[in-house]
């Protein structure tokens, strides 16, 4: 069984936000409320003349020890057989404990205004028909059909690499094994499956 993970190369990300747009189109995320499953932070650092501008794509880390999963009272947050952390919209209470627990800020409330607006836009094709807490799913439905997640497929700089962490021949596994790609804040012991090259 595959164990999916992602590597994000901050050296090549150009901050074009194509990933955010592709994700919003694929997953009907409420961009009208400025809520995203993946977004690219634009960070300016330093004082003139030693300044720098950095783009940092953020996304759910699909942790192996996720704080959001243990705290969820209804088990609406669950792990699928490929290790991705998903949400059962039907049983989500909307208690927001997972939002508070996530150290990576990956979750947001898909509130009733967002549900109504989404229904207005997508009609019968709406994927979000009830209020719930929302986050990245690694586009599991696309992956099941042999495709890459929307953000990976659309990235013009190939800054996102997706694959099986258990397959030693996959690019993600090689980058992680080499130590080039590193998790963020490993000291939090959440064991993220998204790694960064920076």
């Amino acid at each position: 069984m595959a164990r999916y993970g992602m590597v994000i190369d901050l050296r090549t990300c150009v901050g074009c936000q194509a990933c955010s747009a592709a994700c919003a189109a694929e997953n009907q995320t409420p961009y009208w409320s400025d809520k995203w499953r993946t977004r690219v932070l634009d960070i300016e650092k330093g004082e003139y003349p030693n300044t720098g501008r950095h783009f940092v794509p953020t996304i759910c880390m699909h942790c192996e020890e996720p704080a959001c999963l243990t705290i969820c009272p209804s088990q609406a947050t669950f792990r699928d057989e490929k290790g991705s952390i998903l949400i059962n919209y039907d049983t989500c209470l909307g208690c927001k404990a997972c939002m508070a627990a996530c150290p990576y800020g990956a979750r947001y409330v898909y509130d009733k205004n967002d549900v109504a607006k989404n229904r207005e836009i997508h009609g019968a094709l709406s994927q979000h028909n009830a209020v719930h807490i929302d986050k990245c799913t690694f586009c599991f439905d696309r992956v099941e059909r042999g495709m890459e997640p929307a953000c990976v497929a659309t990235c013009p700089a190939k800054a996102r690499i997706f694959g099986d962490l258990d397959d030693p021949n996959s690019e993600v596994a090689k980058l992680v094994a080499s130590g080039i790609a590193k998790p963020l804040r490993p000291d939090l012991n959440t064991k993220p499956k998204v790694f960064y090259i920076y």
């Binding site: 209804s74 088990q75 609406a76 049983t91 209470l93 990576y104 800020g105 209020v131």
Partner: protein, 291 residues
Amino acid sequence: MSVENTLHFERQEAYEWPLAVYLLLGGIGGAFISLSFILHYLFNWSQVGNYGMLIGMGLFALAGLVLIFLDLERPLNAIYSLNNIKTSGISWDVVLIALSFGGAFFYVLPFYVSIPALESLRLLFGAIAALAGFLFPVISGGLISAPVSVPLWHTPLLPVLFLINSFGVAFSAVPAMFGPGSEILAFIFNLAVFMANLVILGGFIAFYEHAHNGPVEAQYGFHEMSKKFNFQLGFLVVGLLFPLVLSGYIFFTGNFLSWGFGALALAQLIGGFALRNCLLKHGYQTYPWPY
């Protein structure tokens, strides 16, 4: 640029004032039930055993309603809240409220209806209610403090502070409501509660200010919180200083003012809300972006 506008500190948006109200009412409800059981059992104060338990049950019911209808995005899905009693703090909260409320109900019932079969189990029901009531502020504090994501909350002192504060209100409220006979005991408890409050606050300050490898993120939240008027007036002045001065007056003059314990209870109630609300408001998540 203020720290709020940088990427490393973002105020958490999950918990707002309804959760502060829930933590406060639930904590005090639990403390009322625990204290009422103990006072009834030890001193045979049946009035406290009866009405104190009822007040605790009412506070628990109110806390539950606040959580369900003001905090949850999908109130009807509260029926799924027991799906994860293995690891979820919220599930444990629900279990404790149910145990404490149910135990208190069967403890109080014989005051009104004679049920011989219940008499032999009454003590057990009361003990369960008291234990669950005692644990509620601890576990609900743990719900907030367990995740590593908000460093200001991530300390074992938080559940203890909630526990002490909840019992502080109950210790003051019981003699205020049920009149003479309990003042001296309540007064001693009150002083103990103040001392414990001060010790824990000292612990907080020591943890945030002087810990090696100091959690700067927690320190930031603590500094921001301590600068706010709501915290200074609500918790420090009304919730802590005023009760301390009033207790000091009672101690040195021996004059148990007729309004004294009512004022103490109200002040600690306001202080308790200010504390919880300010803590929630100043919970900053510190995202670990590499730049």
